[in-house]
């Protein structure tokens, strides 16, 4: 038993300091994101379970094939959603740059990149709003599924049920992420972090924002690609 051996104070786990060299807030954010990963995981897995227990499923390429301002009836599968994906990736990049600027105590850089991230988030939400609206006008909603299965048989409503629930839940996360980023921006502008001497808050907001991007990677694949 190693319990009585004298522990040298340089040992990471010997107490009196964080074994991970991170402050508690970041640790809590990480574990919160883990638990949120289980929330989304449960959604996506139950979507998979229902898909596996159903005989047919609609073809996403036939469902998601429109584009804003394009003529009606355009057949452009995957195009709009790839635009959304890139918006989110780019906003993630600007968020990393904001965190990076924060490490360097570069207030201007933080402000600039945070504004870009917020714009990216709002753009993404607008795209999602347009897509929802478009699908709704086609008769798709919770409990209503106008689309047919791959093989032309009638589909259960669970295709649209899951689509709206999961993208909605993701959209809610994007929305709260935008709110958090706006709060961070205000705090930066009022020199809260300058006075505190560090921009660790931005890092935590960044973790949340990247998580939103991460979830989109899975949602995008599960709903639009396969």
């Amino acid at each position: 038993m190693s319990t009585t051996t004298t522990v040298t104070p340089t040992k990471l786990w010997s107490g009196g300091k964080s074994p991970f060299n991170v402050e508690y807030g970041k640790l809590m954010m990480w574990y919160f994101l883990m638990s949120d990963a289980f929330t989304f995981g449960a959604f996506l897995i139950s979507y998979g379970t229902i898909r596996f227990s159903t005989n047919g499923w609609p073809n996403p390429n036939e469902v998601f094939r429109s584009f804003p301002f394009a003529p009606e009836g355009i057949n452009a599968p995957l195009v709009f959603v790839s635009v959304m994906t890139f918006i989110l990736i780019i906003s993630s990049v600007t968020m990393v740059l904001a965190v990076h600027a924060g490490h360097n105590m570069d207030k201007k850089g933080v402000v600039r990149n945070l504004i870009l991230t917020i714009i990216g988030g709002i753009l993404f939400l607008s795209c999602q709003a347009w897509e929802w609206n478009h699908l709704h006008s086609e008769g798709a909603w919770w409990g209503h599924n106008p689309f047919l299965n791959h093989d032309g048989t009638a589909s259960s409503t669970n295709f649209t049920n899951y689509f709206f629930t999961i993208t909605g839940f993701h959209g809610f996360h994007v929305f709260s992420g935008v709110l958090i980023n706006i709060i961070m921006l205000i705090m930066t502008l009022t020199d809260k972090f300058e006075k505190r001497g560090h921009y660790l808050m931005i890092e935590k907001a960044g973790l949340y924002w990247h998580f939103v991007d991460l979830v989109w990677v899975f949602v995008f694949t599960c709903f639009y690609l396969i």
Binding site: L12, P19, F20, N21, V22, W30, M34, I45, G48, T49, R51, F52, S53, T54, N55, G56, N61, S66, E72, G73, P77, L78, S82, T85, F86, I89, S92, V93, M95, V96, L97, H100, H103, M105, S137, E138, G139, P146, L148, N149, H150, D151, G152, T153, A154, G197, H198, E203, G206, L207, H210, F211, D213, L214, V217, F218, T221, Y224, L225, I226
Partner: protein, 153 residues
């Protein structure tokens, strides 16, 4: 105090801006490959092995993207190994979570196809397919009517 702090965080910062742009390019390339595969897949047969293989590839690419986001954007790669372990190890629970759920979902489909004639029948009756999507909305009620008729027959 502040000075030492910035220095300290700087040290386990990792590659800096250069790395960020490199990862951005990797993520974009992966996404473009995914999309290309998605377009390629459209021509394939419904339950064909090639389609399944492409889907598998897409899932692998998805995991790769997730890895790059978590490792570099969320900075996990540059944290202490113990922190990485406490976050990665619990995620292994997803393996059994996914396997058991999907396996039982699949088994439930077989059960229904075997013991629920209505369920089986429904998946064989084709609803007349529309040529244009835009007409779908107007014809939706008709479509529903047709579907009902056919099930009655």
């Amino acid at each position: 105090m502040e000075h030492t702090h910035t220095e300290a965080t700087e040290q386990h910062e990792g590659g800096g801006t250069k790395e960020i742009w490199k990862v951005t390019i990797i993520l974009s390339v992966l996404t473009i490959i995914e999309l290309a595969l998605g377009f390629w897949m459209m021509g394939m047969g419904l339950e064909s092995a090639s389609r399944l293989a492409v889907k598998g590839t897409i899932v692998i690419l998805m995991m790769a993207k997730a890895f790059y986001i978590v490792a570099y954007f969320m900075h996990l790669k540059h944290e202490i190994k113990n922190l990485i372990m406490t976050i990665v190890v619990p995620l292994a629970l997803f393996v059994w979570f996914i396997t058991a759920f999907l396996y039982d979902g699949n088994s439930f489909r077989h059960l229904r196809n075997t013991y629920d004639p209505h369920f089986k029948e429904q998946s064989t009756i084709k609803v007349e397919k529309k040529e244009h999507t835009e007409t779908k909305e107007k014809e939706a009620p008709k479509e529903a009517g047709k579907e009902e008729k056919k099930t009655v027959e």
